[in-house]
Amino acid sequence: MNGFGGYIKNIVETVSTIFEGLAITLSHLVRRPMTIQYPDRIPKPVQETLPLRYRGILEVDLDICTGCLACERVCPISCITIGIDMNKETKQRTFGHFDIDICKCMYCGLCAEACPTGSIRHSQEFEGASYSPAGLVRHFVTRPVALYKPKKGGETDPTMVEKVKIGQEYLDEFATPEGGAGAGEG
Protein backbone atom coordinates (compact mmCIF):
# COMPACT_ATOMS: atom_id res chain seq x y z
CA MET A 1 0.00 0.00 0.00
CA ASN A 2 1.68 3.15 -1.07
CA GLY A 3 0.80 6.41 -2.66
CA PHE A 4 -2.45 7.51 -4.14
CA GLY A 5 -3.09 4.17 -5.86
CA GLY A 6 -3.04 2.37 -2.52
CA TYR A 7 -5.39 4.96 -1.04
CA ILE A 8 -7.93 4.45 -3.82
CA LYS A 9 -7.48 0.68 -3.60
CA ASN A 10 -8.29 0.81 0.13
CA ILE A 11 -11.51 2.70 -0.53
CA VAL A 12 -12.56 0.35 -3.34
CA GLU A 13 -11.80 -2.71 -1.21
CA THR A 14 -13.74 -1.33 1.75
CA VAL A 15 -16.81 -0.57 -0.35
CA SER A 16 -16.76 -3.85 -2.29
CA THR A 17 -16.21 -6.06 0.77
CA ILE A 18 -18.98 -4.33 2.71
CA PHE A 19 -21.23 -4.73 -0.34
CA GLU A 20 -20.48 -8.47 -0.46
CA GLY A 21 -20.80 -8.89 3.31
CA LEU A 22 -24.19 -7.21 3.39
CA ALA A 23 -25.37 -9.52 0.59
CA ILE A 24 -24.32 -12.59 2.59
CA THR A 25 -26.09 -11.50 5.78
CA LEU A 26 -29.24 -10.54 3.89
CA SER A 27 -29.29 -13.99 2.30
CA HIS A 28 -29.23 -15.46 5.82
CA LEU A 29 -32.34 -13.48 6.71
CA VAL A 30 -34.46 -15.69 4.45
CA ARG A 31 -33.00 -18.99 5.64
CA ARG A 32 -34.56 -21.29 8.17
CA PRO A 33 -32.98 -20.81 11.60
CA MET A 34 -30.92 -23.73 12.83
CA THR A 35 -32.37 -23.45 16.33
CA ILE A 36 -34.59 -26.26 17.61
CA GLN A 37 -36.91 -24.65 20.12
CA TYR A 38 -36.40 -27.42 22.60
CA PRO A 39 -39.32 -27.57 25.03
CA ASP A 40 -41.73 -27.11 22.13
CA ARG A 41 -43.35 -30.13 20.58
CA ILE A 42 -41.73 -30.93 17.28
CA PRO A 43 -42.87 -33.75 14.95
CA LYS A 44 -40.12 -36.10 16.16
CA PRO A 45 -38.82 -36.25 19.73
CA VAL A 46 -35.58 -34.29 20.03
CA GLN A 47 -33.73 -37.48 21.03
CA GLU A 48 -34.45 -39.02 17.65
CA THR A 49 -33.07 -36.06 15.76
CA LEU A 50 -29.68 -36.32 17.45
CA PRO A 51 -26.81 -37.91 15.53
CA LEU A 52 -25.70 -41.46 16.35
CA ARG A 53 -22.45 -40.35 17.92
CA TYR A 54 -24.13 -37.83 20.22
CA ARG A 55 -22.68 -38.19 23.71
CA GLY A 56 -25.73 -38.37 25.91
CA ILE A 57 -26.08 -39.95 29.34
CA LEU A 58 -24.27 -43.31 29.56
CA GLU A 59 -26.25 -46.51 29.41
CA VAL A 60 -25.11 -50.10 30.00
CA ASP A 61 -26.43 -53.30 28.45
CA LEU A 62 -25.51 -55.70 31.26
CA ASP A 63 -26.43 -58.75 29.18
CA ILE A 64 -23.31 -58.35 27.06
CA CYS A 65 -21.03 -56.86 29.74
CA THR A 66 -18.01 -59.11 30.33
CA GLY A 67 -17.11 -57.47 33.62
CA CYS A 68 -13.59 -56.70 32.44
CA LEU A 69 -13.58 -53.39 34.40
CA ALA A 70 -11.88 -51.61 31.50
CA CYS A 71 -14.36 -48.75 31.72
CA GLU A 72 -13.93 -48.38 35.47
CA ARG A 73 -10.16 -48.20 35.08
CA VAL A 74 -10.13 -45.82 32.15
CA CYS A 75 -12.61 -43.36 33.64
CA PRO A 76 -10.58 -40.23 34.53
CA ILE A 77 -12.94 -39.12 37.30
CA SER A 78 -14.02 -42.54 38.61
CA CYS A 79 -17.70 -42.06 38.09
CA ILE A 80 -18.19 -45.74 37.27
CA THR A 81 -18.16 -48.23 40.16
CA ILE A 82 -18.57 -51.96 39.49
CA GLY A 83 -18.86 -54.66 42.10
CA ILE A 84 -18.68 -58.33 41.08
CA ASP A 85 -19.76 -61.12 43.44
CA MET A 86 -18.51 -64.69 43.13
CA ASN A 87 -20.65 -67.62 44.17
CA LYS A 88 -18.23 -69.92 46.07
CA GLU A 89 -19.95 -73.19 45.15
CA THR A 90 -20.78 -72.72 41.48
CA LYS A 91 -17.85 -70.39 40.65
CA GLN A 92 -20.52 -68.27 38.90
CA ARG A 93 -19.67 -64.56 38.91
CA THR A 94 -22.51 -62.02 38.98
CA PHE A 95 -22.75 -58.23 39.16
CA GLY A 96 -23.33 -56.92 42.67
CA HIS A 97 -23.67 -53.32 41.52
CA PHE A 98 -22.88 -51.27 38.42
CA ASP A 99 -23.37 -47.59 39.16
CA ILE A 100 -22.58 -44.54 37.05
CA ASP A 101 -22.66 -41.15 38.74
CA ILE A 102 -24.03 -38.88 36.02
CA CYS A 103 -23.34 -35.97 38.34
CA LYS A 104 -19.59 -36.53 37.89
CA CYS A 105 -19.55 -37.84 34.34
CA MET A 106 -17.99 -35.41 31.88
CA TYR A 107 -19.08 -37.28 28.75
CA CYS A 108 -15.53 -37.84 27.50
CA GLY A 109 -16.44 -41.19 25.94
CA LEU A 110 -13.29 -43.01 27.00
CA CYS A 111 -15.30 -45.81 28.62
CA ALA A 112 -17.28 -46.41 25.46
CA GLU A 113 -14.05 -46.64 23.48
CA ALA A 114 -12.45 -49.05 25.94
CA CYS A 115 -15.40 -51.45 26.10
CA PRO A 116 -14.66 -54.64 24.12
CA THR A 117 -18.31 -55.55 23.50
CA GLY A 118 -19.89 -52.13 23.25
CA SER A 119 -22.10 -52.68 26.27
CA ILE A 120 -21.41 -49.27 27.83
CA ARG A 121 -22.35 -46.52 25.44
CA HIS A 122 -23.71 -43.04 25.16
CA SER A 123 -27.46 -42.90 24.68
CA GLN A 124 -29.32 -40.03 22.99
CA GLU A 125 -30.76 -39.11 26.38
CA PHE A 126 -29.82 -35.65 27.67
CA GLU A 127 -32.56 -34.66 30.11
CA GLY A 128 -30.77 -35.27 33.40
CA ALA A 129 -32.77 -33.05 35.74
CA SER A 130 -33.09 -34.41 39.26
CA TYR A 131 -34.15 -33.13 42.68
CA SER A 132 -31.02 -34.43 44.43
CA PRO A 133 -27.50 -35.47 43.48
CA ALA A 134 -28.31 -38.98 44.62
CA GLY A 135 -30.98 -39.18 41.97
CA LEU A 136 -28.32 -38.73 39.33
CA VAL A 137 -26.57 -42.00 40.17
CA ARG A 138 -27.77 -44.58 37.70
CA HIS A 139 -28.01 -48.12 39.11
CA PHE A 140 -27.97 -50.65 36.34
CA VAL A 141 -28.11 -53.84 38.42
CA THR A 142 -31.68 -54.51 39.47
CA ARG A 143 -31.41 -58.28 39.61
CA PRO A 144 -28.29 -60.48 39.79
CA VAL A 145 -26.91 -60.76 36.27
CA ALA A 146 -24.25 -63.21 35.23
CA LEU A 147 -21.18 -61.93 33.44
CA TYR A 148 -21.23 -62.38 29.70
CA LYS A 149 -18.69 -64.78 28.22
CA PRO A 150 -18.07 -64.29 24.51
CA LYS A 151 -18.23 -67.63 22.71
CA LYS A 152 -15.66 -68.75 20.16
CA GLY A 153 -17.05 -68.76 16.65
CA GLY A 154 -19.74 -66.23 17.29
CA GLU A 155 -22.87 -66.00 19.39
CA THR A 156 -25.41 -68.76 18.92
CA ASP A 157 -28.10 -67.89 21.49
CA PRO A 158 -30.79 -66.14 19.41
CA THR A 159 -31.78 -63.79 22.27
CA MET A 160 -28.20 -62.56 22.57
CA VAL A 161 -27.33 -62.28 18.88
CA GLU A 162 -29.22 -59.03 18.45
CA LYS A 163 -27.65 -57.40 21.52
CA VAL A 164 -24.13 -58.38 20.53
CA LYS A 165 -24.74 -57.01 17.07
CA ILE A 166 -25.97 -53.64 18.41
CA GLY A 167 -22.90 -53.41 20.66
CA GLN A 168 -20.56 -54.22 17.80
CA GLU A 169 -22.22 -51.70 15.52
CA TYR A 170 -21.84 -49.04 18.20
CA LEU A 171 -18.16 -49.92 18.60
CA ASP A 172 -17.58 -49.70 14.87
CA GLU A 173 -19.31 -46.36 14.69
CA PHE A 174 -18.19 -44.70 17.90
CA ALA A 175 -15.03 -46.27 19.26
CA THR A 176 -13.18 -46.59 15.96
CA PRO A 177 -14.88 -44.01 13.84
CA GLU A 178 -13.74 -42.73 10.51
CA GLY A 179 -10.87 -40.39 11.20
CA GLY A 180 -10.48 -41.79 14.71
CA ALA A 181 -7.42 -43.44 16.18
CA GLY A 182 -7.95 -46.79 14.45
CA ALA A 183 -8.94 -45.44 11.07
CA GLY A 184 -6.83 -45.95 8.01
CA GLU A 185 -4.99 -48.96 9.38
CA GLY A 186 -7.18 -51.72 7.97
Partner: protein
Protein backbone atom coordinates in the same frame (compact mmCIF):
# COMPACT_ATOMS: atom_id res chain seq x y z
CA UNK B 1 -46.74 23.81 16.83
CA UNK B 2 -46.50 27.50 17.76
CA UNK B 3 -48.98 28.37 15.03
CA UNK B 4 -51.37 25.76 16.40
CA UNK B 5 -51.10 27.17 19.96
CA UNK B 6 -51.51 30.72 18.61
CA UNK B 7 -54.70 29.74 16.81
CA UNK B 8 -56.02 28.16 20.01
CA UNK B 9 -55.26 31.36 21.94
CA UNK B 10 -57.02 33.47 19.33
CA UNK B 11 -60.06 31.26 19.48
CA UNK B 12 -60.23 32.12 23.17
CA UNK B 13 -59.43 28.78 24.78
CA UNK B 14 -56.96 30.22 27.28
CA UNK B 15 -58.51 33.58 28.22
CA UNK B 16 -57.12 35.00 31.43
CA UNK B 17 -53.82 33.13 31.18
CA UNK B 18 -50.56 34.85 30.25
CA UNK B 19 -49.41 33.78 26.79
CA UNK B 20 -46.03 32.65 28.10
CA UNK B 21 -47.67 30.22 30.54
CA UNK B 22 -49.74 28.76 27.73
CA UNK B 23 -46.61 28.29 25.65
CA UNK B 24 -44.83 26.61 28.57
CA UNK B 25 -47.72 24.22 29.12
CA UNK B 26 -47.84 23.49 25.39
CA UNK B 27 -44.10 22.73 25.37
CA UNK B 28 -44.40 20.30 28.27
CA UNK B 29 -47.44 18.67 26.67
CA UNK B 30 -45.59 18.29 23.37
CA UNK B 31 -42.54 16.80 25.07
CA UNK B 32 -44.76 14.40 27.00
CA UNK B 33 -46.68 13.37 23.89
CA UNK B 34 -43.57 12.82 21.79
CA UNK B 35 -41.80 10.91 24.55
CA UNK B 36 -44.58 8.63 25.67
CA UNK B 37 -46.51 8.03 22.46
CA UNK B 38 -43.69 7.91 19.96
CA UNK B 39 -40.15 7.69 21.29
CA UNK B 40 -40.62 5.22 24.14
CA UNK B 41 -42.60 2.58 22.22
CA UNK B 42 -40.37 3.13 19.20
CA UNK B 43 -37.13 2.58 21.12
CA UNK B 44 -38.64 -0.46 22.81
CA UNK B 45 -39.96 -2.08 19.68
CA UNK B 46 -36.68 -1.29 17.92
CA UNK B 47 -34.79 -3.17 20.64
CA UNK B 48 -37.02 -6.20 20.11
CA UNK B 49 -36.86 -5.96 16.33
CA UNK B 50 -33.11 -5.60 16.35
CA UNK B 51 -32.75 -8.76 18.38
CA UNK B 52 -35.08 -10.63 16.02
CA UNK B 53 -33.42 -9.38 12.83
CA UNK B 54 -29.99 -9.98 14.24
CA UNK B 55 -30.94 -13.49 15.33
CA UNK B 56 -32.36 -14.42 11.94
CA UNK B 57 -29.21 -13.18 10.21
CA UNK B 58 -27.23 -15.51 12.49
CA UNK B 59 -29.58 -18.48 11.90
CA UNK B 60 -31.12 -18.14 15.34
CA UNK B 61 -34.68 -17.37 16.41
CA UNK B 62 -34.43 -14.48 18.87
CA UNK B 63 -36.90 -13.54 21.59
CA UNK B 64 -40.31 -14.97 20.69
CA UNK B 65 -41.89 -15.91 24.01
CA UNK B 66 -43.34 -12.74 25.57
CA UNK B 67 -46.52 -11.88 23.73
CA UNK B 68 -47.13 -12.82 20.10
CA UNK B 69 -43.71 -13.46 18.57
CA UNK B 70 -42.09 -11.81 21.58
CA UNK B 71 -43.24 -8.32 20.66
CA UNK B 72 -43.74 -7.47 24.35
CA UNK B 73 -40.18 -8.45 25.22
CA UNK B 74 -39.22 -4.80 25.58
CA UNK B 75 -41.94 -4.26 28.19
CA UNK B 76 -40.72 -7.25 30.15
CA UNK B 77 -37.16 -5.95 29.99
CA UNK B 78 -38.28 -2.49 31.04
CA UNK B 79 -40.25 -3.80 34.03
CA UNK B 80 -37.34 -5.98 35.03
CA UNK B 81 -34.98 -3.02 34.94
CA UNK B 82 -37.43 -0.88 36.93
CA UNK B 83 -37.50 -3.48 39.68
CA UNK B 84 -33.72 -3.81 39.83
CA UNK B 85 -31.74 -2.13 42.58
CA UNK B 86 -30.29 1.21 41.54
CA UNK B 87 -26.70 0.81 42.67
CA UNK B 88 -24.37 3.78 43.07
CA UNK B 89 -20.83 2.57 43.84
CA UNK B 90 -19.35 4.04 47.01
CA UNK B 91 -16.28 5.30 45.15
CA UNK B 92 -18.31 6.91 42.36
CA UNK B 93 -18.91 10.62 42.12
CA UNK B 94 -22.17 11.00 44.01
CA UNK B 95 -23.44 13.95 41.96
CA UNK B 96 -22.28 13.23 38.42
CA UNK B 97 -22.89 9.50 38.43
CA UNK B 98 -26.69 9.65 38.83
CA UNK B 99 -26.88 12.68 36.55
CA UNK B 100 -25.03 11.29 33.50
CA UNK B 101 -27.83 9.09 32.06
CA UNK B 102 -30.21 12.05 32.01
CA UNK B 103 -27.73 14.23 30.14
CA UNK B 104 -27.36 11.52 27.51
CA UNK B 105 -31.10 11.13 27.36
CA UNK B 106 -31.74 14.88 27.06
CA UNK B 107 -29.19 15.13 24.25
CA UNK B 108 -31.00 12.43 22.37
CA UNK B 109 -34.56 13.54 23.09
CA UNK B 110 -33.97 17.20 22.16
CA UNK B 111 -33.41 16.15 18.55
CA UNK B 112 -37.12 15.37 18.27
CA UNK B 113 -37.87 19.08 18.44
CA UNK B 114 -36.83 19.56 14.81
CA UNK B 115 -37.60 16.11 13.40
CA UNK B 116 -40.86 16.42 11.49
CA UNK B 117 -43.61 13.79 11.39
CA UNK B 118 -45.40 15.45 8.47
CA UNK B 119 -45.73 18.76 6.68
CA UNK B 120 -47.68 20.29 9.58
CA UNK B 121 -46.65 17.93 12.33
CA UNK B 122 -43.46 19.21 13.93
CA UNK B 123 -42.73 20.43 17.44
CA UNK B 124 -40.85 23.53 16.28
CA UNK B 125 -39.64 24.37 12.79
CA UNK B 126 -36.45 26.19 13.79
CA UNK B 127 -34.65 28.25 11.18
CA UNK B 128 -31.37 26.67 12.29
CA UNK B 129 -32.90 23.19 12.50
CA UNK B 130 -29.97 21.10 11.29
CA UNK B 131 -27.39 23.15 13.18
CA UNK B 132 -29.49 22.74 16.32
CA UNK B 133 -29.63 19.00 15.70
CA UNK B 134 -25.86 18.69 15.37
CA UNK B 135 -25.47 20.80 18.51
CA UNK B 136 -27.82 18.86 20.78
CA UNK B 137 -26.47 15.49 19.69
CA UNK B 138 -23.09 16.73 20.93
CA UNK B 139 -24.55 16.99 24.46
CA UNK B 140 -24.50 13.19 24.44
CA UNK B 141 -20.68 13.35 24.53
CA UNK B 142 -20.82 15.32 27.76
CA UNK B 143 -23.11 12.74 29.34
CA UNK B 144 -20.97 9.81 28.21
CA UNK B 145 -17.79 11.48 29.42
CA UNK B 146 -19.51 12.21 32.75
CA UNK B 147 -20.57 8.60 33.05
CA UNK B 148 -17.06 7.39 32.26
CA UNK B 149 -15.35 9.76 34.67
CA UNK B 150 -17.78 9.55 37.59
CA UNK B 151 -17.86 5.75 37.66
CA UNK B 152 -14.29 5.83 39.02
CA UNK B 153 -13.46 2.68 37.11
CA UNK B 154 -10.75 2.24 34.53
CA UNK B 155 -12.99 0.51 32.00
CA UNK B 156 -15.62 3.20 32.27
CA UNK B 157 -13.05 5.94 31.93
CA UNK B 158 -11.45 4.32 28.88
CA UNK B 159 -14.89 3.80 27.33
CA UNK B 160 -15.86 7.40 27.98
CA UNK B 161 -12.62 8.74 26.55
CA UNK B 162 -12.92 6.56 23.46
CA UNK B 163 -16.49 7.63 22.96
CA UNK B 164 -15.63 11.31 23.27
CA UNK B 165 -12.73 10.98 20.82
CA UNK B 166 -14.92 9.09 18.40
CA UNK B 167 -17.94 11.37 18.51
CA UNK B 168 -15.88 14.55 18.24
CA UNK B 169 -13.93 13.13 15.28
CA UNK B 170 -16.98 11.91 13.39
CA UNK B 171 -18.82 15.20 13.89
CA UNK B 172 -16.59 16.59 11.13
CA UNK B 173 -17.54 14.26 8.22
CA UNK B 174 -21.16 14.31 9.38
CA UNK B 175 -21.19 18.08 9.56
CA UNK B 176 -19.52 18.45 6.17
CA UNK B 177 -21.94 16.00 4.54
CA UNK B 178 -24.80 18.01 6.01
CA UNK B 179 -23.15 21.21 4.78
CA UNK B 180 -23.30 20.11 1.15
CA UNK B 181 -27.07 19.70 1.52
CA UNK B 182 -27.38 23.11 3.20
CA UNK B 183 -25.62 24.56 0.14
CA UNK B 184 -28.21 23.00 -2.15
CA UNK B 185 -31.23 23.84 -0.02
CA UNK B 186 -30.13 27.33 0.97
CA UNK B 187 -31.76 26.84 4.36
CA UNK B 188 -31.05 25.02 7.62
CA UNK B 189 -34.69 24.52 8.55
CA UNK B 190 -35.63 20.84 8.35
CA UNK B 191 -39.00 21.64 6.82
CA UNK B 192 -37.35 24.00 4.33
CA UNK B 193 -34.89 21.31 3.22
CA UNK B 194 -37.73 18.81 2.71
CA UNK B 195 -39.83 21.36 0.82
CA UNK B 196 -36.95 21.89 -1.61
CA UNK B 197 -37.09 18.23 -2.58
CA UNK B 198 -39.86 16.36 -4.36
CA UNK B 199 -41.69 13.10 -3.88
CA UNK B 200 -39.99 11.45 -6.85
CA UNK B 201 -36.61 9.83 -6.18
CA UNK B 202 -34.87 11.93 -8.82
CA UNK B 203 -35.98 15.03 -6.95
CA UNK B 204 -34.24 13.85 -3.80
CA UNK B 205 -30.93 15.37 -2.80
CA UNK B 206 -29.50 11.85 -2.71
CA UNK B 207 -29.55 11.72 -6.51
CA UNK B 208 -28.99 15.44 -7.08
CA UNK B 209 -25.37 14.94 -8.15
CA UNK B 210 -22.59 12.36 -7.63
CA UNK B 211 -21.19 14.26 -4.66
CA UNK B 212 -24.39 14.21 -2.62
CA UNK B 213 -24.66 10.51 -3.39
CA UNK B 214 -21.27 9.96 -1.72
CA UNK B 215 -22.15 12.45 1.02
CA UNK B 216 -25.15 10.32 1.97
CA UNK B 217 -23.01 7.26 2.71
CA UNK B 218 -20.47 9.41 4.53
CA UNK B 219 -23.25 10.87 6.64
CA UNK B 220 -24.72 7.46 7.45
CA UNK B 221 -21.33 5.99 8.41
CA UNK B 222 -20.46 9.00 10.55
CA UNK B 223 -23.89 8.91 12.19
CA UNK B 224 -23.44 5.24 13.07
CA UNK B 225 -20.12 6.15 14.67
CA UNK B 226 -21.69 9.01 16.57
CA UNK B 227 -24.44 6.71 17.82
CA UNK B 228 -21.81 4.23 19.09
CA UNK B 229 -23.17 1.51 16.86
CA UNK B 230 -21.31 -1.54 15.62
CA UNK B 231 -18.86 -1.54 13.79
CA UNK B 232 -17.93 1.60 15.73
CA UNK B 233 -18.98 0.49 19.20
CA UNK B 234 -15.50 0.50 20.74
CA UNK B 235 -16.69 2.61 23.72
CA UNK B 236 -18.63 -0.42 24.95
CA UNK B 237 -16.53 -3.20 23.43
CA UNK B 238 -17.34 -6.22 25.62
CA UNK B 239 -14.14 -8.01 24.79
CA UNK B 240 -11.97 -5.17 26.02
CA UNK B 241 -13.94 -2.88 28.31
CA UNK B 242 -16.66 -5.06 29.91
CA UNK B 243 -19.40 -2.57 29.02
CA UNK B 244 -17.44 0.66 28.67
CA UNK B 245 -19.04 3.67 30.29
CA UNK B 246 -22.14 1.72 31.39
CA UNK B 247 -20.13 -0.84 33.39
CA UNK B 248 -21.15 0.50 36.79
CA UNK B 249 -24.75 1.32 35.94
CA UNK B 250 -27.71 -0.84 36.88
CA UNK B 251 -31.46 -0.76 36.76
CA UNK B 252 -33.22 2.18 35.17
CA UNK B 253 -30.09 4.30 34.73
CA UNK B 254 -28.57 1.51 32.64
CA UNK B 255 -31.76 1.39 30.63
CA UNK B 256 -31.63 5.12 29.90
CA UNK B 257 -28.35 4.69 28.03
CA UNK B 258 -29.78 1.96 25.86
CA UNK B 259 -33.08 3.78 25.45
CA UNK B 260 -31.03 6.64 24.00
CA UNK B 261 -29.02 4.27 21.82
CA UNK B 262 -32.03 2.59 20.23
CA UNK B 263 -33.98 5.81 19.95
CA UNK B 264 -30.92 7.38 18.37
CA UNK B 265 -31.15 4.85 15.55
CA UNK B 266 -34.44 6.40 14.51
CA UNK B 267 -32.91 9.88 14.75
CA UNK B 268 -30.10 8.78 12.40
CA UNK B 269 -32.64 7.42 9.92
CA UNK B 270 -34.87 10.47 10.24
CA UNK B 271 -32.05 12.93 9.62
CA UNK B 272 -30.89 10.92 6.61
CA UNK B 273 -34.48 11.01 5.35
CA UNK B 274 -34.79 14.77 5.88
CA UNK B 275 -31.51 15.59 4.18
CA UNK B 276 -31.27 13.09 1.37
CA UNK B 277 -34.48 11.12 0.86
CA UNK B 278 -37.15 13.74 0.39
CA UNK B 279 -38.64 13.56 3.91
CA UNK B 280 -42.41 13.39 4.00
CA UNK B 281 -42.90 14.41 0.35
CA UNK B 282 -45.80 12.51 -1.23
CA UNK B 283 -47.60 12.91 -4.56
CA UNK B 284 -50.57 15.27 -4.24
CA UNK B 285 -53.50 13.11 -3.15
CA UNK B 286 -56.72 13.60 -1.27
CA UNK B 287 -57.54 16.14 1.36
CA UNK B 288 -55.57 17.32 4.37
CA UNK B 289 -56.09 14.35 6.67
CA UNK B 290 -55.28 11.58 4.18
CA UNK B 291 -52.27 13.50 2.99
CA UNK B 292 -51.11 14.07 6.56
CA UNK B 293 -51.38 10.37 7.43
CA UNK B 294 -49.64 9.41 4.20
CA UNK B 295 -46.83 11.87 4.90
CA UNK B 296 -46.33 10.42 8.36
CA UNK B 297 -46.28 6.87 7.02
CA UNK B 298 -43.88 7.71 4.19
CA UNK B 299 -41.50 9.55 6.49
CA UNK B 300 -41.62 6.80 9.09
CA UNK B 301 -40.98 4.04 6.57
CA UNK B 302 -38.08 5.87 4.98
CA UNK B 303 -36.53 6.56 8.37
CA UNK B 304 -37.13 3.03 9.62
CA UNK B 305 -35.51 1.54 6.54
CA UNK B 306 -32.25 3.04 7.77
CA UNK B 307 -32.85 1.68 11.25
CA UNK B 308 -33.07 -1.72 9.60
CA UNK B 309 -29.89 -1.06 7.64
CA UNK B 310 -28.12 -0.16 10.90
CA UNK B 311 -29.22 -3.50 12.40
CA UNK B 312 -28.09 -5.25 9.26
CA UNK B 313 -24.68 -3.58 9.32
CA UNK B 314 -24.38 -4.57 12.96
CA UNK B 315 -24.95 -8.20 12.02
CA UNK B 316 -22.41 -7.99 9.21
CA UNK B 317 -19.32 -6.08 10.19
CA UNK B 318 -16.85 -6.80 13.00
CA UNK B 319 -15.82 -4.09 15.42
CA UNK B 320 -12.95 -1.89 14.22
CA UNK B 321 -9.86 -1.20 16.29
CA UNK B 322 -9.30 2.25 17.82
CA UNK B 323 -6.51 3.20 15.43
CA UNK B 324 -8.50 1.86 12.47
CA UNK B 325 -11.45 3.93 13.60
CA UNK B 326 -9.39 7.11 13.72
CA UNK B 327 -7.64 6.29 10.42
CA UNK B 328 -11.01 5.74 8.75
CA UNK B 329 -12.25 9.09 9.98
CA UNK B 330 -9.24 11.34 9.45
CA UNK B 331 -7.57 9.71 6.46
CA UNK B 332 -10.62 8.72 4.42
CA UNK B 333 -13.88 10.27 5.52
CA UNK B 334 -12.74 13.81 6.23
CA UNK B 335 -10.99 14.28 2.83
CA UNK B 336 -13.90 12.63 1.03
CA UNK B 337 -16.44 14.84 2.77
CA UNK B 338 -14.40 17.93 1.86
CA UNK B 339 -14.44 16.65 -1.70
CA UNK B 340 -18.21 16.36 -1.48
CA UNK B 341 -18.60 19.91 -0.18
CA UNK B 342 -16.32 21.39 -2.86
CA UNK B 343 -17.87 19.18 -5.54
CA UNK B 344 -21.39 20.21 -4.60
CA UNK B 345 -20.41 23.88 -4.60
CA UNK B 346 -18.77 23.51 -8.01
CA UNK B 347 -21.82 21.67 -9.32
CA UNK B 348 -24.01 24.55 -8.19
CA UNK B 349 -21.80 27.01 -10.05
CA UNK B 350 -21.87 24.92 -13.24
CA UNK B 351 -25.59 24.10 -13.04
CA UNK B 352 -27.25 26.96 -11.11
CA UNK B 353 -30.72 25.42 -11.52
CA UNK B 354 -29.66 21.81 -11.12
CA UNK B 355 -29.28 19.24 -13.82
CA UNK B 356 -32.32 17.11 -14.45
CA UNK B 357 -30.45 14.56 -16.58
CA UNK B 358 -27.75 14.09 -13.98
CA UNK B 359 -30.42 13.46 -11.31
CA UNK B 360 -32.19 10.88 -13.43
CA UNK B 361 -28.82 9.35 -14.31
CA UNK B 362 -27.86 9.10 -10.65
CA UNK B 363 -31.25 7.55 -9.91
CA UNK B 364 -30.71 4.94 -12.62
CA UNK B 365 -27.23 4.29 -11.22
CA UNK B 366 -28.73 3.79 -7.77
CA UNK B 367 -31.25 1.31 -9.13
CA UNK B 368 -28.49 -0.55 -11.00
CA UNK B 369 -26.42 -0.80 -7.80
CA UNK B 370 -29.47 -2.10 -5.94
CA UNK B 371 -30.15 -4.68 -8.67
CA UNK B 372 -26.51 -5.78 -8.62
CA UNK B 373 -26.80 -6.12 -4.88
CA UNK B 374 -29.89 -8.32 -5.05
CA UNK B 375 -28.12 -10.33 -7.73
CA UNK B 376 -25.37 -11.04 -5.20
CA UNK B 377 -27.97 -11.93 -2.55
CA UNK B 378 -29.59 -14.34 -5.02
CA UNK B 379 -26.19 -15.84 -5.79
CA UNK B 380 -25.53 -16.36 -2.08
CA UNK B 381 -28.88 -18.07 -1.62
CA UNK B 382 -28.40 -20.32 -4.65
CA UNK B 383 -24.77 -21.02 -3.91
CA UNK B 384 -25.30 -22.49 -0.46
CA UNK B 385 -28.65 -24.20 -1.23
CA UNK B 386 -30.16 -23.36 2.14
CA UNK B 387 -33.61 -24.28 3.27
CA UNK B 388 -35.58 -21.11 2.59
CA UNK B 389 -37.93 -19.76 5.22
CA UNK B 390 -39.51 -16.55 4.04
CA UNK B 391 -42.02 -16.09 6.83
CA UNK B 392 -41.02 -13.45 9.38
CA UNK B 393 -42.43 -15.45 12.30
CA UNK B 394 -41.23 -18.69 13.81
Amino acid sequence: MQAFVDSLIQQGYFTGMPTQVVYAIAMIAAAFAVLSFFVAPLAGVTSWLERRVWARMQSRVGPNRVGPQGILQWLADGIKNLLKEDLIPAAADQLLFPLAPYIVFIGFLCTFVVIPFGSNLIVADLDIGILYLLAVTSIVVVGILMAGWSSNNKWSLLGGMRSAAQIVSYEIPAGLAVLSIIFLAGTMSTQGIIKNQGWAPWDWYLFNNPFTFIAFFLYFTAALAEGNRTPFDIPEAESELVAGYVTEYSGMRFLFFFFAEWGNLYVIGAVATILFLGGWQVPAVGDGLIEGVLQFVVFFLKAYLWVFVAMWVRATLPRVRVDQLMALCWKYMVPLSFLCVIGTAAWMVVFPHGNRWASVGMFVLGVVILLLFFGRVRYQIRHSKPELYLRPYI
